[in-house]
Point group: C2
Chain length 307, copies 2
């Protein structure tokens, strides 16, 4: 008998878009955020992950995060909403779980945010505590560039054994297609096919999907969903070369991410350039790109006809 | 004419003790904290820095941090109190500044806590904002192991130029005595003698003071002040060899820090072993040492007659 409350097996597949949480004068710019969500709905993304790294989750208070979760469900027009619940302290993670549940989220995204370096046991126990506290499925958020925690295959396996862990968001990295496929297969073998595997690191979306990832957890796709959906649909249709071609067309954007320290500041600058969010949309102390860098980002956006 | 409000030039010298903020059932154990402070007063430390990394500052809410700042001043018996104000978001840093001022702190300790990697300009602007917002002197907290931000000599120099920056807490590292002296002299030259320089990384306290550091910002000294004060006084009296001998006697403790990933978990385990704080005194997700590791820490504490 199937559990009527079990999440759809397809919930963590396809394109999950990670919108910015635009800030204006240190407050959440709710109108701009609603505008970003409307673009995602119009484009037809498969899911929306609010409060990912691109959504500046760790910089927001518990109340602000509850509000963003609410706004996301409100504007998602029925598209499944996942909510990032990570925080430095387990107590605060659990408060974020409750708020995400109350808002009507269909999934949770949890990164082992650290200040003091965490051990594998610290991280396992964090996920055990969270999955014990909620019926919502949890995406394991592996993002060593921000959390400074490195997952092992063995920890992936232990986490996949927890009831409630439904997907793993793996970091992108440059690999040959056969190496990438073998990498995904190793993770799949270790986790016994119990979880979906999603690629992140936007430059690696196409190659990750071609290598067998079930989902693309895309940062830039939260602001520019259309080109990322085209890549995703090509890969899903088995048109691997077409997916790579579409991704290669965006190479100037991937280069900019690599040159300017990641996707967040560039994506925010492009959203500002397109008038989707107000200037200085990131929370301080993050100043965002310099004026010169912003001009460069705007040029790339214009040349690639991103809008 | 001297500014009557200017901090004493000696304020950021000698031993500054960093107490744990003991947690019990996810709440601050105020009685245990008061007990830790009384030990520091009885030992005669030169200053107390509440809410350093050892004080688990980033894990606590703004309200909890305000309460710890209050408690510290209340129990410090006139010993100068510095308060850690770092947070991921500038807005929260400023709230911590206000609470530390209200509590009667005489100095502030600010680390560039990061999730998204910070640029030099992000960090400079953070310190500029804080020093503009308060008259209290600020200690620059350079702790790359937890903040993942690497200061350059050039940034030290820019920060030392800010009115209000009074000291730099530098990370400890293994160096020969002449290299260590040259290292401190380079920092002193870059900062134009405008700030005190304090060593951290407890294994390097003696060699740092011998190399010309003005202060020792000591984590373990917040729990075990007496042996760290003996080292400090020897170094201050020009008895460099004696300071090194006293530090070498504690080598099993320094080895344990190196083996078990830093001072926090070991210091907490020793405080628990000595009955100064209740078991499980660190905030989750930090589980603390395993039972085996705790036995090892207790053995070292007993062998060295730490109490």
């Amino acid at each position: 008998m199937t559990d009527p409350n079990a999440p759809s097996p397809d919930l963590f597949t396809g394109l999950s878009a990670f919108p910015l949480t635009p800030i204006s004068d240190e407050e959440i710019d709710e109108a701009a955020y609603a505008g970003l969500l409307q673009r995602l709905v119009a484009a037809g993304v498969d899911s929306i992950t609010a409060l990912g790294s691109t959504g500046s989750y760790v910089y927001l208070s518990t109340d602000e995060r509850a509000r963003v979760a609410q706004l996301t469900v409100e504007h998602a027009a029925g598209i499944p909403v996942f909510v990032g619940i990570g925080a430095l302290r387990t107590r605060d993670v659990l408060a974020n779980v409750a708020a995400a549940e109350a808002a009507g989220a269909q999934g949770l995204l949890l990164a082992p945010v650290s200040y003091q370096p965490l051990t594998e046991d610290d991280v396992f126990e964090l996920f055990r505590t969270v999955t014990s506290a909620t019926d919502l499925p949890v995406v394991v958020y592996d993002n060593p560039g921000t959390t400074h925690f490195t997952f092992t295959l063995d920890l992936y396996a232990r986490l996949a054994d927890l009831d409630g862990v439904a997907s793993i968001k793996i970091p992108g990295q440059a690999m040959s297609p056969p190496d990438f496929t073998a990498h995904v297969e190793r993770i799949r073998a270790a986790t016994g096919n119990r979880v979906s595997i999603g690629i992140s690191g936007d430059a690696f979306g196409a190659s990750g999907l071609n290598a067998g990832c079930d989902a693309w957890y895309t940062a830039v796709g939260g602001t520019l969903p259309a080109p990322m959906l085209a890549i995703t649909r090509a890969a899903q249709n088995g048109e691997a070369d077409r997916a790579l071609e579409l991704s290669a067309e965006l190479q100037p954007l991937w280069d900019l991410f690599a040159e300017l320290g990641g996707s967040l500041r560039v994506t925010a600058a492009i959203a500002e350039h397109l008038g989707l969010v107000a200037p200085h949309s990131l929370p301080l102390p993050i100043l965002g790109l310099t004026d010169d860098q912003k001009r460069k980002a705007a040029e790339v956006a214009d040349t690639l006809h991103l809008d």
